[in-house]
């Protein structure tokens, strides 16, 4: 079956997924994102990554992590044929919080992104499948 399957990672173990973000120059940048179904945002990257990868600008939002800027990102998950422009946000504070579980995490993937595909998990791993 076509899927992306990732063993839980970090301490405590956390679900995560891997995306490719395509920059305006066409180059793909691979990101490993902590999965948080409680997040109301599609995905959150560092401010530096957002600045370099955004295709267009978005709105801002006030949160308990401060003000988040946003932008349109070209996100691809090759294993499941996912290829969309999504409205993502930027916060170094959120990325730092994600990295407290594992320094490998480069951001956060939230429920709006997960709703664009099938997702689930078992005792050992988290998986994504095509919508």
């Amino acid at each position: 079956m076509t899927e992306q399957r990732n063993p839980y990672r970090g301490s405590p173990p956390r679900a995560w997924l891997r995306v490719h973000v395509i920059g305006v120059d066409g180059r793909a940048s691979e990101k490993e994102l902590l999965v948080d179904t409680g997040s109301p945002f599609t995905l959150i990257l560092s401010t530096g990554e957002m600045q370099s990868l955004r295709q267009m600008t978005g709105t801002t939002v006030h949160t308990n992590f401060g003000v988040l800027t946003s932008g349109w990102l070209h996100v691809v998950i090759p294993e499941i044929g996912f290829d969309h422009h999504v409205f993502g946000y930027a916060s170094d504070e959120v990325v730092a919080a994600a990295q407290s579980s594992s320094p490998a995490f480069q951001g956060l993937a939230g429920l709006p992104l997960l709703r664009m595909m099938q997702y689930g998990g078992d005792a050992t791993s988290f998986w994504l499948r095509p919508q």
């Binding site: 997040s39 109301p40 267009m56 709105t59 006030h62 349109w72 994600a98």
Partner: protein, 79 residues
């Protein structure tokens, strides 16, 4: 005017225009704002970017939204 101030100007314009944009365009339609006004629209994101470039605008300097979408001004993150 700094880049942040330009973004804030476009966002303020979007918040002010949102009710009319949601009536004028079908849900999901892409709309671009720049210098506080609408500068382009398209049914697909790539089509909007192409239109902006053809008009001599850098898409990265433009605010993009989708008609009918609600972009929150406040939110809580639990992670």
């Amino acid at each position: 005017m700094t880049e942040l101030e330009k973004q804030q100007r476009d966002e303020a314009a979007y918040r002010r225009l949102k009710p009319s944009l949601d009536q004028q365009y079908p849900a999901g339609h892409f709309i671009a704002l720049h210098d506080g006004r609408v500068v382009g629209d398209a049914s697909l994101f790539d089509e909007l970017v192409a239109k902006l470039r053809k008009a001599g605008l850098d898409p990265r300097d433009c605010l993009a939204v989708q008609a009918g979408e609600d972009y929150p001004e406040k939110a809580i993150i639990f992670c």
